[in-house]
Amino acid sequence: MTQVNNAYIVEEVQAAFGTDILEHQEPYGMLTLVINPAKIVDLLTWFKQHPIIQAGFLTDISGAHFPDLKGGELNAVYHIQSMTQNIRIRIKCFVPVENPVIPSVVPLYSGANWMERETYDYYGIQFEGHPNLKRILNVDEMDYFPLRKEFPLEDGTRTDKEDKYFGR
């Protein structure tokens, strides 16, 4: 009975995907893999169908914006877990802000539908192949992606609160 732990998973994944895995780390015990964005659907399918790891539950998709990482400013973070082996894995893919395209995993996990819409709404990452990629939480007419670092928290057009009294 093979012991399924982070080292085993790294070994298997590198055997299957080779150079598409750009790096792997274990911050606070959770295995984190960075993958080439074009291969994300293949990687998640491989995890789901692997007979021993059986990581077939998508916990969450979110995004982040790192304005200093040229060529990889936006990223999408996928958290998956294996119910049978009780192990969690984090997968990231970095895309440049000029062309933020990542293939959508909706055909594999129906739950990814709204998770990807939320990430699109906040960061502007285009998920290719998504059935209905439009804004979900913000108003439909909004023309910028609010969670990117260059945009402020407050509404610039409000007239009743003066910034100097609020420490901004």
């Binding site: 913000n138 108003v139 609010p146 928290l153 407050e154 509404d155 409000r158 009743d160 609160k161 609020f166």
Partner: protein, 181 residues
């Protein structure tokens, strides 16, 4: 600061054996004040405190609000409890427009009164940006006793209101400033 007095006399007027002479305004004011039917427009956490106010411990029903009306046409008092986002603003305005006169608005909680702790791009900083408000109840969330105090202040307003408020110039200019005909 004006003193608010809560009248505990049933109705001011001239009493005699078997009759009471009072003005129509006062009689109608008393009737309206003690039978306000609220429309609970509860969006978030203040909505749960409002539900606790409706429950048996704090009991809003003894103030006349026995029946929660969810249809705007049948409600007198619009209780807005919870955060109103910019996406929800037009919906709130529609509900207010559908209410029939006479109507009053009670804004429960910090979020409805001024945006609360959410000074963000997506939250309306106070419902008085879209509809005229009569009483504001601060708190996050306000205790049920505070909500009852707000309802009592509304009752005071209702009791002293003239019968033809909707014809007065002050009311018309107020509604015009919100763009409501």
């Amino acid at each position: 600061m004006t003193e608010v007095t809560y009248s505990n006399k049933p109705l001011p007027g001239i009493e005699g054996p078997g009759f009471l002479a009072t003005s129509l305004e006062k009689a109608v004011g008393m009737a309206r004040a003690n039978s306000l039917w609220p429309l609970p427009f509860a969006t978030s956490c203040c909505g749960i405190e409002f539900m606790a106010t409706m429950g048996s411990n704090y009991d809003l029903a003894r103030f006349g609000s026995e029946r929660m009306s969810f249809s705007p046409r049948q409600a007198d008092l619009l209780i807005v409890a919870g955060t109103i986002a910019k996406k929800m603003g037009p919906v709130l305005r529609q509900v207010y427009l559908q209410m029939a006169e006479p109507r009053w608005v009670l804004s429960v909680g910090a979020c409805a009164s001024s945006g609360g702790i959410f000074d963000t791009y997506s939250v309306l900083q106070g419902i008085d940006k879209v509809i005229p408000v009569d009483v504001y109840v601060p708190g996050c969330p306000p205790r049920p006793e505070q909500i009852l105090d707000g309802v009592m202040k509304i009752q005071e307003l209702v009791r002293n209101e003239s019968l033809r408020r909707r014809e007065s110039d002050e009311y018309k200019t107020l509604l015009a400033s919100y763009g409501i005909q």
